[in-house]
């Protein structure tokens, strides 16, 4: 999508404008001021000077711009600086989080770690790996995705394109309820009907079912939102050409919103990939490789992280393994994300609007 807004300086017809470097100068000035005040007042927390600098930056932008460029421009500058501040505010903790994970995770992260299971290694001993957990996560999340993506997208299609009357109302209602379902409750539900009533024993598939329950509402809601944004002109143009409604949906509506739908699906996958509680209840966990998701206990990465952290008797090696597994999990989702974006880009129609 072309960004006209950024190539064109705002209102160049107006009189005085500040030079381009002004925001940077104000930013540098406010950081210096923030640091100076903290040093003078003896505040040791980086959060404090950061917050002060942010306030000076926003206030400074407004003050200076209001004097030179007038109030409308000043408002624009304030919002621009606010947006930048928001960005920085969010980036700092996020970068810190990733940095911490990488720093702690690389200690035991190597080829051996990725290709071996825990086998007979006790949790408080060095060695072992996460192969079994990677495999389990791939299979469980894969099955859950295969079930919930079609169901979720079709449900959203139904709500947006067809839905009227009581059924649509009921579905909307329950999707709303579902967004707040604590993961352990979903796990308990599957436990009582699949394992206790049907007497199936723990398996990767049982975990997938709970994950599906958690995944569906996220997919339905985000897809619904994206489908609603598809302009009606497109639908009408297609229908006017005599294209059946279902072809219109498949060929026009869904491709137009594929980018947003992919994002929604990725968010849902990301959410369930990190789930611990239902997996612990239903998949049971195992130190050995089990390639069959339909029979016998499996492991999974988040469960592995949790167990290495919580039940290892405080052994340092176990914490290292937990961080390395977390790093793997993030990397796994990163690759998935890249792939999904690639597919979305290929499938999306060229943005001709």
């Amino acid at each position: 999508m072309s960004q006209i807004t950024e190539t064109q300086p705002p209102s160049s017809l107006q009189g005085a404008t500040l030079p381009k470097w002004t925001p940077w100068a104000i930013a540098a000035g406010s950081v210096a001021l923030g640091l100076g005040i903290s040093a003078a007042a003896g505040l040791d927390s980086s959060i404090q000077w950061g917050l002060m600098a942010a306030i000076f930056f926003v206030g400074g932008s407004y003050g200076i711009a209001a004097r030179v460029e007038g109030r409308r421009q000043a408002k624009d500058r304030v919002v621009t600086s606010l947006v930048w501040v928001a960005f920085l505010l969010a980036v700092v903790p996020l970068v810190s989080l990733i940095w911490e994970t990488v720093k702690r995770g690389v200690k035991v992260f190597d080829g051996y770690f990725l290709t071996h299971s825990m086998g007979l290694i006790a949790d408080d001993e060095p060695g072992g790996g996460i192969y079994h957990a990677i495999l389990g996560t791939l299979e469980q999340v894969g099955i859950a995705t295969v079930i919930s993506v079609p169901v979720g997208i079709l449900t959203a299609v139904y709500l947006v394109e067809y839905g009227r009357g009581n059924l649509a109302k009921a579905v909307t209602f329950f999707v709303d309820v579902m967004t707040g379902i604590p993961s352990i409750v979903a796990g308990l539900f599957v436990l009582s009907f699949w394992i206790l009533i049907l007497d199936m024993g723990p398996s990767g598939f049982a975990g997938s079912m709970a994950l599906t329950i958690l995944m569906l509402p996220v997919i339905v809601r985000s897809t619904e939102e994206m489908l609603k944004l598809v302009p009606n002109e497109l639908r009408e143009a297609s229908l006017a050409l005599g294209v059946p409604k279902w072809r219109t949906i498949m060929k026009v509506v869904l491709p137009t919103s594929i980018g947003g739908i992919t994002t929604g699906v990725m968010l849902a996958v990301a959410r369930i990939t990190g789930e611990t509680a239902p997996v612990l209840l239903l998949v049971w966990g195992s130190a050995f490789i089990n390639t069959d998701p339909f029979d016998g206990p499996q492991a999974s990465l988040p469960m592995y992280i949790y167990q290495q952290y919580a039940n290892s008797g405080g052994a340092g090696v176990a914490y290292d393994r937990a961080w390395a597994a977390a790093l793997t999990l993030i990397g796994f989702v990163m690759i998935l994300n890249l792939a999904a974006r690639g597919i979305a880009r290929w499938k999306a129609p060229s943005t001709g609007r």
């Binding site: 408080d124 072992g128 079994h132």
Partner: protein, 375 residues
């Protein structure tokens, strides 16, 4: 249109790559972790492991306090009996007992003996029998603290009760000074941490306070923390993490967590010298215990107000819970073989290397007879 077909082709090939990648992945993993787990001295002779016809997967669930002990045992056992896979999930004692009464597991691990209603519930799973408690592992609960510059702190039950009930709030309080005349105690706020989750560790710690300082500690006890005030953290890991980080912090935890900046306090029980939290002292305390279970059940009652020399009273005994009769046929052989091993001398010897206390000879002998009679 042409463009789109090309895209589809590309998507297809991507899918193919993904699938073949996954296939390649399944091929390259290995369960063989080899000899990387070093530092094991007892690997040599394990004549006490008799596999017989035991095979299959054994599921178990329960106390996280005995997880490391089970890990060590499983290691020895599986090397001898290749056909048996033991899968112990340390979800918690309550979850373990629940899973046991629902028939999900072959045995459960628990920090506390079965309650009467749980025994009743177990009768549905054990045909013609009931669930019984077999004491297998003991462990000292250390009172770990982080006060810069203070080593070898001595506390007694009354001070402990005061600290954890927010009555004693400074490290240089007169009560602590009296017990530690030589230490230089800082004027630091005491941050008493307790477990925010329910746990057998909390249960055993408060049971000690109730038994040894009944006037100072007026709560009922139980797995959930009762007193008001203080700070909390989730799990022994969480508690240990906080004690490490917060100067002036104190908490209770299994002995294996009390390291790297956490010092375990000695306990003035009224014995001739303050007792340290060690494996030997815990075993001494367990030796004083009475068997209160009836029949095949071997539930223990510890003497927590003990004043014996070298007996560390804040001690936890964890049980394996099985059916005395009516265990599932397919897992009976494996269960029996495994329990026989862990109750054997070799099995109990493994414990001390992992910060656990072996069960005293007199009691473990009874356990062995009971295990032999399981059916």
């Amino acid at each position: 249109m042409k463009l789109q077909r090309k895209n589809r082709l590309r998507a297809l090939s991507l899918g193919a790559v993904a699938v073949s990648g996954a296939l390649a992945l399944t091929a390259c993993g290995s369960d063989d972790t080899g000899s990387s787990g070093s530092g094991d001295s007892t690997t040599a002779a394990n004549s006490s492991i008799k596999c017989d016809d035991a095979k299959g997967q054994l599921l178990a669930n329960g106390s996280s306090a005995q997880k490391n002990a089970i890990d060590a045992w499983v290691k020895q056992f599986s090397t001898a009996c290749k056909d048996v896979q033991i899968n112990y999930k340390s979800e918690g004692s309550g979850a373990g007992v629940t899973a046991f009464t629902q028939g999900q597991v072959a045995f459960a691990g628990s920090d506390s003996a079965l309650k009467p209603e749980e025994v009743t519930a177990s009768k549905e799973v054990c045909k013609d029998g009931q669930g019984i408690d077999l004491p297998m592992v003991g462990g000292p609960i250390a009172v770990g603290y982080n006060v810069p510059g203070v080593e070898g702190l001595v506390l007694d039950s009354k001070t402990l009760a005061g600290i954890f009930d927010s009555k004693i709030t400074k490290w240089n309080d007169a009560a602590i000074k009296k017990l530690n005349p030589d230490a230089t105690l800082p004027n630091l706020k005491i941050q008493a941490f307790h477990r925010s989750d329910e746990s057998g560790t909390t249960d055993n710690f408060t049971k000690y306070l109730i038994a040894a300082a009944p006037d100072q500690w007026k709560y009922e006890g139980g797995k959930a923390w009762q007193a008001k005030g203080g700070q909390s953290a989730a799990g022994s890991s969480g508690v240990a993490q906080q004690v490490k980080e917060v100067p002036g912090a104190i908490s209770y935890m299994e002995l294996s967590y009390a390291k790297d900046g956490i010092t375990a306090a000695k306990l003035d029980t009224g014995a001739s010298a303050p007792v340290e939290a060690t494996v030997e002292n815990a075993t001494t305390a367990i030796a004083d215990a009475k068997v209160v279970g009836t029949g095949a059940d071997l539930a223990l009652e510890l003497n927590r107000a003990t004043k014996a020399d070298g007996a560390y009273p804040i001690t936890l005994v964890t049980y394996e819970i099985v059916c005395d009769k009516g265990n599932k046929a397919e897992t009976l052989a494996a269960t029996k073989a495994f329990l026989t091993y862990i109750a054997s001398e070799d099995g109990q010897k493994v414990l001390a290397e992992n910060d656990y206390a072996p069960i005293p000879e007199e009691i473990i002998a009874k356990v062995r007879t009971t295990v032999a009679s399981l059916s």
